[in-house]
């Protein structure tokens, strides 16, 4: 059993570092006049879209309801998240050498806690963009807020907004499960 536990810990390392290659989350906007949909991808270090102009196009649409421009340069998380990810990977590498059951639990719990914090942070940004609207916006609808759902879909005026984890998010979750499993399967001392 010792072997399996260590292999799982080894696997968490690529499942962490893949975040540099795959987006964490995606928000898709659907409307009749956008037959191909508009999808925005949130990475640990950048925001992209289906095309290189997606963000500009979303911002143009958003300005009608007075939403702030989404400008990746003004989002500090995109600057320090990469270091958090590298830190996690470093702790996981350390786990290959410091073979301690409680340390394994610590890694699993830490990554889980950081993930929850990340999702909460994402929620706060969504809340801010959705509620903090320009009072001079061309389109104002009494009582209407434009916060996209954390997970799932919601109609925002003419757009159906669908928010879901993306490839990187799923793989990272898998890494976290592997982390906990490496603790659970850790050979107990007789």
């Amino acid at each position: 059993m010792k072997h399996l536990s260590k292999v799982l810990m080894l696997l968490t390392i690529p499942l962490t570092l893949q975040l540099f290659f795959f987006p964490l989350w995606q928000i898709t906007l659907e409307a009749p006049q956008y037959p191909e949909g508009i999808t925005m991808f949130i990475w640990i270090n950048k925001i992209t879209g289906t095309t290189e102009y997606t963000l500009q196009n979303i911002n143009i649409l958003n300005h009608y309801i007075g939403m702030k421009y989404i400008e990746p340069d003004s989002i500090p998380e995109l600057k320090y998240f990469p270091w958090v990810v590298i830190g996690i990977a470093f702790l996981e590498v350390l786990g290959l050498f410091w073979y301690n059951r409680w340390y394994y639990l610590f890694i699993g719990a830490l990554v889980f806690a950081l993930s929850c914090l990340g999702v909460y942070d994402f929620y706060l940004w969504e809340y801010d963009y959705g509620h903090n609207l320009d009072p001079n916006a061309p389109i104002k609808i009494e009582g209407m807020v434009y916060q996209p759902p954390l997970i799932g879909s919601k109609m925002l005026l003419n757009f159906n907004a669908i928010s879901l984890p993306a490839t990187g998010g799923y793989l990272f979750l898998l890494g976290n499960i592997f982390g906990f499993l490496s603790f659970v399967l850790f050979p107990k001392k007789k």
């Binding site: 102009y53 500009q56 196009n57 143009i60 009608y64 061309p138 389109i139």
Partner: protein
């Protein structure tokens, strides 16, 4: 002779009677369509047509893009005529496109579209088209569906037998329909015969921005009507039909129809290249414009060229031969293998088919029947391989399918006749409503036709549609040619008068169609790529406005300090980078047109305010929910009293 003429006249009369009989025509057309016709041309909402058709606009000077089998119109591309809708020829960027040695010419007569080819197959890069009146050729880029290059032709009196490309787009060609004094000079018209000349031009086609007359051949002063370049084994040759070998200068309808046979001019352009390389040409003084729209600067420039290289057949043996062809031939068409050259004697009943192999043998065996102004005339029997006894009258033009069949339009008997290449037997015939000119099969003049549909472009419309007063649209008819019998499946209206068309499978063109102009590649000298850089600069009477547009405002949208007598240049950049988000721009009292600016593009409108006041401008293309709000004001004072130049967006 006389009896033939009388019978033609009688037949024209009969067809006239037939046209005049409305109910008769409709009954005939209705019974000609099968019950499944509707489903075979039905393109469901949201679905695409299988083919693009590029149809010339004739006297509109433009090129329309339509879908097959639906017949729907997608775009009318301005080529030789100004188009206020798109600002073509009105905005500062495209005005130079219509420059010629006769100055700015806002109109032409566009006849024959021709798609670029690679290895004899349409490749979807460009479409070329001729301007007949003030002789020109144009290139249309099929990434943007815009006209990007126009070359004027010196020594031409009317560019009709053009562009007709060679199989690897080496050349498009241009022959003159009206021979003229070369070089031009005034002279008594009764001296035309023997003194007027024609010119056949070969123009490099596959170097955008560098459309050049590689050489011209000075030829006897006949009328050069249509052309087609050889393919496969006949690659290296181009064939031109001639009429008026009588060289009449008046009442041509009679005097130019006297000779029993006119000529097909066979030009060995590979030989021409050899003579050119050997320096066997003269550099003749000339004056003609080359206009090029550079996609980087999004602006056209016009340059005037001063010489043209001319080859004299008398000094270039083997360059050109004449093959006799009966009765003022119009169409000259080469079958997909390149073996046969089909001449359509428009005043006869039959088609004349010459063989390329026989022609080469006749040249080698010197089977000449005299000469015309020093150009050897090949013996008719030495080159002829067959005659299609059509049973129709007035053949004009032939295209081919991919199964070894040919389809010829007959103007006088108003029908299309299908015949077998090689045996020359007639297989089928269908009526046209009415009086078909050219016909088109997608790829039908190339090595690989898509033999599924055939379009007949008719010259007379009469009762085919709801009437629109004296002027009617020109009508096209679509036939299913996938089976043994041709089946009429659709009538559809066209723009202007399509003299000819080209068709191509949508898969060849559609993937390359551009969605936007990239703002980061916009090198327009007056582009303004950021709203924060929008500004107004005065330079004496000239005022340059660097304006941006994005949903749903202009920057700046208030300008004051303008004066009567100013020349205001609005350089407007569309900052959008999303597909199908153009904006328009128009100013009250502008003496030109609107601008219609695509995403990432910069265009310039000149406005010379005539009256004091505060004048509005606005977006003309319904761009967004706040489109009606996309507007601004221009403050104009009396001469010398405009005050300080100011501009703003938001208070």
């Amino acid at each position: 002779m006389k009896s033939l003429k009388i019978s033609i006249a009688a037949l024209i009369g009969i067809s006239g009677l037939f046209i005049g009989c409305q109910s008769g025509g409709q009954k005939k057309a209705a019974s000609a369509t099968g019950s499944d016709a509707a489903s075979s041309v039905y393109v469901a909402p949201g679905e695409y047509d299988e083919f693009y058709a590029f149809m010339s606009g004739g006297f509109s000077g433009q090129l329309s893009v339509q879908g097959l089998p639906s017949g729907r119109v997608f775009k009318v591309i301005p080529v030789f005529s100004v188009d206020a809708e798109k600002g073509y020829g009105f905005n500062e960027e495209t005005k130079p496109m219509l420059n010629t040695s006769h100055g700015f010419i806002p109109w032409d007569d566009a006849h024959h579209p021709e798609l670029s080819q690679t290895d004899g197959v349409p490749d979807g890069r460009w479409c070329f088209i001729n301007g007949n009146n003030t002789p020109r050729v144009a290139r249309i880029d099929l990434k943007t569906f815009e006209t990007t290059e126009i070359l004027e032709l010196p020594n031409s009196g009317g560019n009709h037998s053009s562009p007709f490309i060679t199989e690897n787009s080496e050349y498009i060609v241009a022959g003159t329909r009206f021979s003229v004094p070369i070089p031009q000079r005034n002279m008594p018209i009764n001296l035309a015969k023997g003194n007027f000349k024609g010119a056949l031009s070969f123009i490099t086609a596959n170097e955008p921005g560098n459309m050049t007359i590689k050489f011209q051949i000075l030829v006897p002063g006949f009328d050069y009507d249509l052309a087609h370049s050889g393919k496969g084994k006949s690659h290296g040759w181009t064939f031109f039909t001639t009429y008026n070998t009588e060289e009449a200068h008046t009442l041509k309808e009679a005097y130019a129809s006297q000779n029993d046979k006119d000529y097909i001019a066979a030009v060995n352009w590979k030989k021409a290249e050899e003579y050119l390389a050997a320096g066997n040409f003269t550099e003749m003084p000339a004056e003609y414009a080359h206009n090029y729209y550079d996609e980087r600067t999004q602006s056209a420039t016009s340059s005037m060229l001063k010489t043209v290289k001319v080859l004299d057949p008398a000094k270039c043996p083997g360059l050109i031969y004449y093959m006799p062809c009966p009765k003022s031939p119009h169409g000259i068409d080469v079958n997909p293998t390149g073996d046969y050259i089909v001449g359509a004697g428009k005043l006869s009943a039959d088609l004349t088919v010459h063989s390329f192999d026989k022609m080469i043998a006749a040249i080698e065996g010197k089977q000449f029947d005299g000469d015309a102004y020093g150009i050897p005339v090949l013996k008719f029997d030495a080159v002829n391989i067959g005659t299609v006894s059509s049973g129709g009258l007035g053949p004009l033009h032939t295209e081919f399918d991919d199964k070894g069949n040919a389809y010829t339009s007959f103007f006088i008997s108003s029908e299309v006749v299908k015949w077998k290449v090689g045996t020359w037997e007639v297989l089928d015939r269908v009526p046209c409503y009415y009086s078909v000119g050219h016909l088109m099969i997608p790829g039908g003049d190339s090595k690989k036709p898509w033999g599924k549909y055939m379009v007949a472009m008719n010259k007379i419309t009469k009762d085919r549609y709801l009437p629109t007063g004296p002027e009617m649209c020109h009508s096209a008819q679509l036939y299913d040619i996938s089976g043994e019998k041709m089946k009429l499946i659709l009538d559809f209206p066209t723009m202007g008068e399509p003299h000819y068309a080209q068709g191509i499978h949508a898969d060849v063109v559609k993937p390359n169609s551009q969605k936007i102009y990239r703002l980061d590649e916009n090198e327009h000298p007056f582009a303004c790529k950021k709203e924060s850089e929008a500004r107004v600069e005065r330079d004496g009477k000239d005022v340059h406005v660097y304006m941006t547009m994005i949903r749903s405002h202009f920057a700046p949208d208030n300008i004051s300090g303008l004066e009567v007598g100013d020349r205001v240049y609005f350089h407007v950049t569309n900052l959008e980078q999303d597909w199908d988000t153009p904006h328009g721009f128009s100013v009250l009292g502008a003496n030109n047109s609107e601008l219609l600016i695509m995403p990432g593009q910069t265009e310039t409108l000149v406005w010379e305010p005539k009256k004091e006041g505060v004048w509005p401008f606005y977006c003309t293309d319904f761009c967004s929910a706040l489109h009606q709000e996309m507007q601004g004001y221009l403050g104009v004072g009396a001469k010398g009293q405009g005050g300080e130049l100011k501009w703003s967006l938001g208070d």
